[in-house]
Symmetry: C2
Subunit: 333 residues, 2 copies
Amino acid sequence: MEEKADRQYIDIRALVKGVLRGDRAALARAITLVESAAPQHKNAAQALLAQLLPYAGQSVRIGVTGPPGAGKSTFIDTFGCALTQRGHKVAVLAIDPSSALHRGSILGDKTRMESLSRDENAFIRPSPTGGVLGGVASTTREAILICEAARYDIIIVETVGAGQNEVTLRSMVDFLLLLLIAGAGDELQGIKRGVIEIADAVVINKADGDNIARAQAARAQMKRALRFVAPATVGWATRALTASGLKGHGIEEIGEVISEFTAQTKASGGFKQRRTEQRRAWLHSAIERQWRDILYGHEAVRAALPQLEAAVMAGELPAAAAAEELLRLALDG
Amino acid sequence: MEEKADRQYIDIRALVKGVLRGDRAALARAITLVESAAPQHKNAAQALLAQLLPYAGQSVRIGVTGPPGAGKSTFIDTFGCALTQRGHKVAVLAIDPSSALHRGSILGDKTRMESLSRDENAFIRPSPTGGVLGGVASTTREAILICEAARYDIIIVETVGAGQNEVTLRSMVDFLLLLLIAGAGDELQGIKRGVIEIADAVVINKADGDNIARAQAARAQMKRALRFVAPATVGWATRALTASGLKGHGIEEIGEVISEFTAQTKASGGFKQRRTEQRRAWLHSAIERQWRDILYGHEAVRAALPQLEAAVMAGELPAAAAAEELLRLALDG
């Protein structure tokens, strides 16, 4: 029996070694472990992370977001290949909190980045399906650390621009790239209020063929708009660029802009400061999520909640009073 | 000394009586009490709410949202006066989580609704400045209950469309009205992805003078868009309308649409079901906010947090491990 239990036990040392060696199978298994919601994996996942942490952090983390149809996958495919050709190791991760609803959308991730998925210096990881936003965001953060320990020096995190996704994405990357396309006129399509305020570069994609003039007009419009917006990164003027993921136009320039950004913010200390602040925010979201789990896992709370809920739902008890009663139970037990 | 303490004690019975009588000064004081963040007001506020709750709930709660410049204040001014002329008592509340940043924007609330603010059957209440979103949203919900107990039968809750405001607003109203304006072409201005999915009516405002044709074209465009969107309320086809808050055009029709909505959803049970579900959600947000306050108020947690934070911020400790250690302290103490 003991031997059997031993065999089922996850060999963390071997997994750590595999990740540090850059072994892709070990990398995939390590990410699966931190994504696991199974309680018996929790300690193993934490041990793994603690051992990999000293090797993490040495990358540039680039967020890519934009509305559906902006061409994110094609852009990342082309951009990622350009980076591996320059000698980088590129990991692509996705945040997709809506995936429980739209499972189809992520199954295709690998095939949507055809060239990059065949590149041996690239690693593409679709997001976990299901789970709450906090959970997915948390495991994406941990997946970044694991990829860094496996010596991927560029981490691209992708998410579709919907709900609070971009804000979550901003909280885990160094550089945020907003991908847009020009509409039928020169106006920008699918742009969300507040999103250019968190971007370090706005790229008008699909600037190819008949679309070039429109894309350039949209870029000029964006440049004007950016004048009135506080930059996402202190000391960095948010750029407006055009590109074609399909044809490869403008891709080189985007790489240069990001290099410039990195050099500048590392020199000013802003790069390190943002990472430090992100870790602090990450800690607090972890604390609050775990603390909430404790409350709802409490026996007396679980027993009393249905009745209190019913009284509040019937309009017989104010929510604040019911909440207080419930917390009294949690603290007494 | 005891007498002095007694005098400082808030006379809840008198306040309840005043609110139930519809006394405006008592109403204002009651809302101020629930908005108060002072610990010594908490019990008084809860006692007040518990006593008013049996008299609350008998209103139609209408949310009005839209981008800055859509003409929300003028619209509500005209719409509110039309309602009081039909014999309704109208309360206007505002949610403004950004008010800590932009204090100026709400100071003008009263004067921005000139006619309504002079109407004795209307009560206008600017939102509290400062506070977190949860806090403001929670006191807005409680202000609704208090206004209902004072026999206001139409409650209009207004918020600017930014961040998560509309979602918060949707969680506390029966009917959500999205106010938009036509742009330079016939396209719609300032529309946020996902917001028409939570609206029960989309009103193209400023349909007056030179702007009528553009507003009508924008309405037609919205009608087409709505065909592809799941309605916010089961069994209710989201309406697209035009109006002019300034000239009063279309205001009557909006009132009729809301009456139709109310009659229909009350008959189907959807009205009651939504309210019940909202109370449940409200309970859980109250629970989670209070539970979080307990954690961060815990002595051992406050003592340990700075060091754990520093270790996480320095990249020496994974966030999840630090969170767990902190929670162990909270549970042991």
